[in-house]
Subunit: 133 residues, 2 copies
DNA sequence: ATAATTGCAAACACTTTGCACCTGT
DNA sequence: ACAGGTGCAAAGTGTTTGCAATTAT
């Protein structure tokens, strides 16, 4: 039901080839224009949504003044959350059985089915915490 | 240099008297209209900025689809977290000690200090889950 | 054949701003 | 008197949407 299109492949390629932590809609559009790729703004937005919902991409909301960034997450087991450092922007994987337990608990006792692949916990990583004192 | 005005007092009052966890620009405007208070949208935005910058208020960015919530800083209500339904976009709040436990565990055992006010768990709410089958 | 995807431009939601008028000090 | 605040309507920003044309299956 989901077709494989030139545009979708190219968007993923662009993100994969960018080693920046701050891939934004604008930065992708810049590459699109520079390389004469044929993808409209609307398609880009739609594709990013798709990738985020499929768990291939993480949408990182830095703060509401700055547009969101997108980061690749190699898709794998679903039972892990991501951590993003608010200071340095780095993305970490949290492999922890407690995540699964919490997800289960919330589903059973609070009637809400958490989708771990979309969850991003923001905070401060070790390194940045050390730096700042 | 900052004048004390009727409008600023009233905005603070409204927020103080609201026991909701999700005070938003819209919810404040509703009260303003209901009580026939004389504050314009522009002033409300300006006042909220002021209160946030002065440290009286905390702006909570749940996600970019939902407008931000405002919380009095003195309340220190760090013990509730947010759930956002991916289907309907609705925002729920979750009072659950297990989330706090996870946050603590992540700090102690994974060396990452989660910012509790930014914990947002995405998934599917009860209502949407029922609808889709 | 037909279901999904695309580009375009228009619509959107939320927020900010310029300016003339008003208010607090 | 004058720095600061207000309301209005207009502009801004980033994103979404309706629709006819196009493309993947």
């Amino acid at each position: 039901m989901a077709y494989k299109t030139k545009q979708r492949e190219q968007v993923l390629d662009i993100i994969k080839n960018s080693n920046s932590k701050h891939v934004t809609v604008e930065s992708i559009l810049n590459i699109i224009r520079k390389d004469n790729i044929d993808i409209s703004r609307a398609t880009l937005y739609r594709t990013l949504d798709l990738l985020v919902n499929s768990g291939a991409l993480k949408k990182i909301i830095v703060d509401e003044k700055n547009p969101p960034c997108y980061q690749l997450c190699e898709l794998e087991d679903n039972d892990h959350f991501h951590l993003v450092c608010e200071k340095c922007g780095k993305l970490f994987h949290l492999d922890c059985e407690k995540v699964g337990e919490l997800v289960e608990h919330i589903e059973e006792d609070h009637g809400f089915k958490v989708n771990p692949s979309r969850v991003v916990l923001y905070g401060t990583c070790d390194e940045c915490a050390k730096k700042n004192k």
